[in-house]
């Protein structure tokens, strides 16, 4: 190829070889006069045409590489940016790759309170008020929806799980305590999946003490569960209106 690259064009004082010219042509950065000249050469020089094809094919592979392998953005980053007041809900359109389908019996995580204290508030409890809030409340960046005299609720985001369920990340405030959790809608019933970080839930009936940061656990759960990005506010509103039936 090098012996064919005799055509050097002066561009603002810089002498450019064919590869530079072809590169600018690919990027639509070649001026009209030089584009016409190049097109004439491409008609007459098969070697030059082949070189252009090579460069364009490599670009195509590069775009494919980045699209297929390097799209994922850690979900906690968007969460970090939304974590304060005024952050708009509409999360960026980035793909999340699911680690695998979530089995119905998957347990993991949550429950902060000691379960030996029967009169202690259990944030993992899914009662009518919480279920109703999950069913009908729009996600928001700030503000609370009162559940009862002692609890307030805020939905943070809604996302699809790999197993086909809709899940919602939410905040729950009880007196002076706050929890962050995720609940998923299973055949019309909301089930808490993760909350806080002190107890692992196994098959919705057993609890074990554990220790980890609540936010980290929730973020990890979302990271491993979500098959796509969180819904935008309009999409979420439509889904809620349709009774969580996606078409």
């Amino acid at each position: 190829m090098s012996e064919d690259r005799k055509n050097v064009v002066d561009m603002a004082g810089a002498r450019l070889d064919d590869d530079h010219i072809l590169s600018m042509y690919i990027d639509n950065e070649l001026d009209a006069g030089r584009t016409v000249a190049l097109l004439e050469r491409l008609k007459a020089e098969p070697t030059l045409r082949a070189r252009l094809s090579q460069l364009e094919a490599n670009d195509s592979l590069l775009r494919k590489l980045y699209k297929q392998r390097h799209q994922a953005v850690p979900s906690q980053l968007a969460t970090m940016l939304r974590a304060d007041n005024g952050v708009l809900f509409g999360a960026t359109r980035f793909k999340r790759w699911a680690a695998g389908a979530i089995a119905a019996s998957v347990a993991t995580i949550a429950v902060v309170m000691s379960l030996s204290q029967t009169n202690t508030f259990n944030p993992m409890t899914m009662d009518q008020q919480l279920a109703s809030a999950l069913e009908g409340s729009a996600s928001q960046a700030s503000g609370w929806v009162p559940l009862d005299k002692r609890r307030d609720f805020r939905s943070v985001l809604t996302f699809p799980a790999a197993d086909g369920r809709w899940c919602r990340e939410f905040l729950l405030a009880h007196d002076e305590s706050h929890w962050r959790g995720v609940a998923c809608r299973d055949n019309g019933t909301w089930v808490n999946q993760v909350m806080g970080s002190e107890v692992f839930l196994e098959q919705a009936t057993q609890y074990k003490p554990a220790g980890a940061d609540a936010d980290e656990k929730v973020a990890r759960f979302i990271d491993e569960t979500a098959v796509d990005i969180a819904l935008g506010p309009q999409e979420e509103a439509v889904l809620i209106q349709r009774g969580w039936i996606s078409y």
């Binding site: 082949a50 490599n58 592979l61 392998r69 007041n85 960026t92």
Partner: protein
């Protein structure tokens, strides 16, 4: 400096995918790219940006400076990135295998490029930025972008060892 405004946060959320690709173009390793992206977001949250700042440009600038100051000084192992594809039903057809091999070769070839060429090429060929846009983000003259992109393409072509005879 003021903390990020709500609009800046939203703009930054929307910029995250492009910022991720930029991080990858700098580090050439997905894990390091995630680290750099995380640090960049943390720095932006911590330091904020001017109210009239162009969010994308500012974020890219912070990211690049962090890479220069912090990532370069780390003991970064040169790992080859593994595919993140979860196309479980893709099967193992010959076409898929061939394409995967091609993408592997391109990934390796990209790792060999100088970081500044890699960043310029990703900005232009993958992100679709004009030379002027790429120059503004990377804070170099337009002519430098033109040169880096052309040299990167040339290096890739030579590394991938595609010949005119094979195409014919």
């Amino acid at each position: 400096m003021a903390s990020l405004t709500a609009q800046q946060r939203q703009d930054l959320i929307e910029e995250l995918p492009r910022l991720k690709r930029f991080c990858l173009s700098l580090t050439s390793d997905p894990t390091d790219a995630d680290d750099l992206l995380q640090i960049t977001v943390e720095r932006l949250l911590e330091k904020g940006m001017p109210a009239d700042a162009h969010v994308a440009k500012w974020a890219h600038r912070v990211c690049r400076n962090l890479w220069i100051d912090e990532i370069r000084s780390r003991d970064v192992r040169n790992r080859y990135a593994q595919s993140e594809s979860v196309s479980e039903g893709a099967g193992t057809t010959a076409a898929n295998t061939d394409e995967s091999v091609q993408l592997d070769r391109v990934a390796v070839a990209m790792q060999k490029l100088p970081p500044e060429q890699r960043a310029a090429l990703v900005k232009v060929a993958v992100e679709g930025c004009s030379y002027a846009e790429a120059a503004a983000v990377l804070e170099v003259p337009i002519g430098t972008i033109m040169s880096r992109v052309a040299r990167a393409r040339k290096a890739l072509a030579e590394d991938l060892e595609w010949s005119v005879e094979r195409e014919a």
